[in-house]
Symmetry: C2
Subunit: 355 residues, 2 copies
DNA sequence: CTGTTAGCGCTTTCAT
DNA sequence: ATGAAAGCGCTAACAG
């Protein structure tokens, strides 16, 4: 009883080594390869039921777990994916990440996260080494910035990869959301109420989602006969605040405002509040980025809810398909998308543009 | 010119195999072990400078990257850590994760994220297999719930691990924040302004941080001669909203309110707004969870800012120390912590508890 | 100074 | 129905 903290029964002093295939093989009195076959459920090979039982029992008893490293080395498969995300605070990434993590787990993969600093963005190819070094089987690239040209990143030519929530330079590897659909939901809603002038406040135009929303806004406003003003600003509270400040100083606001990120929504709301611009009395507001907190603001904010988790899951599926050698084409996730009405949208004021 | 997409020069049709140590060895005309030595910068062994040069040049030319799998198999080190986090929306995890990711990268580790569903929490030992299978060298356990008893999780006895932002059942493996310090910052601030009654709205008491904040509130209120009311509710907007609703129905509110999570802050503010309780006129409000958006609400909310990123970094350091066999003791991160004054706190109303 | 050998833990033909 | 042997890519002990 003077022994220190005995773990189980025959615990040899010192930390017990992890149990290997050969350990259970020699315990049962068979060869390691036999154990391997049994544990991998080889159906082709007919094993004596009794042997099978003994092996299974022993493995279970000793809590055997296969060494993923050794396995991966043999199979040229790590069972890991790397998700490269921009280092921003926006909750959009949390949901995207969650959708991806869940689906990856379902499909037997683990996910490593790499965060890319926004100040010092690297080209996607900078992450290719993770696959080359056999740390992962493929790359989910959610770095936000559009790259300069359309030349495919050579460093990724032999690396399974998928661009998530942005388009990449090479065709057929994009998994994105239907940003145009989201914009249409917003515009049709306000146009239907009689608004004729629209303002979009969004992030830097180098961000691909922003670019696509802006383009869709211009296009659809033209189609509907609405005037469109588009302002790019920092995707922060301060950015949204400053944008409204500047616009107010220059003249009356458009009557319908769409905002790209929730941080900007906070800033926009604060600026409108400061300037005593009534929402939805004088201007209507729609967030293109859904979050539950929008329901609890002094002006509950209507938003467009996008399928972030589905996007993450679809990206994982697409990447695994590429790892498995199957080709694949661009994917656009459009469902489920909906307008969450919360009261920040109303008809335009009698004298349009009144602020 | 009819060939399809030639990559570089001597690209043999089909995807080029990854370059191995032996490839560059045979190219240079030396043995693989020599290459290994050179590339690992063996100082003890004196290598002929010319050989070194040739090897380095060849490796660079062919973009050689060591196979992390093979290396890990030999070294019994994967160079990966697993971070187990609860699956919640709160931005606290984003910052914690970021601090951990950054520090891990600095120290040459990659990080895998596992999200634990809040509805179906598993014991921390359920993640031990990741180390046993050699998928990671250690575990950062940020699962929020306190476990039942103080019995150390046997499944983790041989697994390097550290509990992050919560205390674990085994001693000496905790890396937590100074929640008591945060609570004191809040209480001293409001007590200094003359408040005598305090309300804490926080999450489920099974969450360790909540438990510690509640205990510290009781203790410090007693020391200061303040009355303390503590309400546990869902860590959501709806939870905060409902808590205030119920309290208002029962009578006047304490004059100083602390709130555990930002989601609850949104709910609390909404409920106070609905009930026309002036902030900070009738009650003062402090968020124990800092976020920039708090500055842009209709009532800018004062908060206590905690060192989340530092916590993540410290946890990584502590875990690596344990992986390296060094012992370690519990760590409490208290700096930098500060009160961010934003205007939701004022002196108590003349008739205390007036609502 | 550099090559040989063995082996990390597992899987997979090929034998028997 | 099971064993033997080779090898994934790399490194470390030991020769020479």
């Amino acid at each position: 009883m003077t022994e220190r903290a005995p773990g189980r029964q025959h615990e040899p002093a010192g930390k017990r080594r992890v149990v290997r295939l050969v350990d259970i093989a020699s315990a049962v009195g068979v060869h390691a390869s036999t154990v391997s076959r049994v544990l991998n459920g080889e159906v082709g090979h007919s094993l004596r039921p009794e042997t099978v039982e003994r092996i299974l029992a022993e493995a279970r008893a000793r809590g055997y777990r296969p060494n993923a490293l050794a396995r991966a080395l043999r199979h040229h498969r790590t069972g890991a994916l790397t998700f490269v995300v921009p280092m921003v605070r926006n909750p959009i990434w949390v949901r995207l990440q969650r959708g991806a993590l869940l689906r990856a787990a379902e499909r037997g993969y683990v996910v490593m996260i790499m965060e890319e600093p926004m100040e010092d963005p690297k080209p996607p190819g900078a992450y290719g080494y993770l696959v080359t070094e056999s740390r992962a089987d493929g790359l989910l690239l959610a770095t936000a910035l559009r790259t300069g040209g359309p030349e495919p990143d050579e460093a990724l030519s032999a690396v399974p990869h998928v661009y998530v929530n942005r388009r990449g330079p090479d065709q057929g590897n994009d998994v994105v959301m239907d940003e145009a659909g989201a914009v249409r939901l917003f515009l049709d809603h306000v146009a239907g109420l009689g608004h004729r002038s629209v303002l979009l406040i969004d992030g830097r135009r180098e961000v691909d989602t922003v670019y696509r929303r802006a383009a869709a806004t211009r296009r659809h406003c033209a189609a509907l006969g609405l005037t469109a003003v588009i302002r790019h600003t920092d995707a922060t509270e301060a950015g949204g605040f400053a944008a409204i400040r500047r616009l107010l100083a220059a003249g009356p606001l458009p009557t319908a405002i769409g905002v790209g990120s929730i941080e900007q929504v906070f800033g926009v709301l604060a600026a409108l509040r400061d300037a005593r611009v009534a929402v939805p009395g004088a201007v209507s507001l729609v967030s293109l980025d859904e979050d539950e907190s929008l329901a609890y603001l002094d002006v509950p904010v209507t938003s467009v809810s996008m399928p972030l988790a589905e996007l993450g899951a679809a990206a994982v599926d697409a990447l695994i398909a590429r790892i498995d050698g199957a080709g694949g084409s661009d994917v656009v996730i459009g469902e489920p998308m909906s307008l969450v009405s919360r009261g920040s949208v109303g008809p335009p004021p009698a004298e349009p543009g009144l602020s």
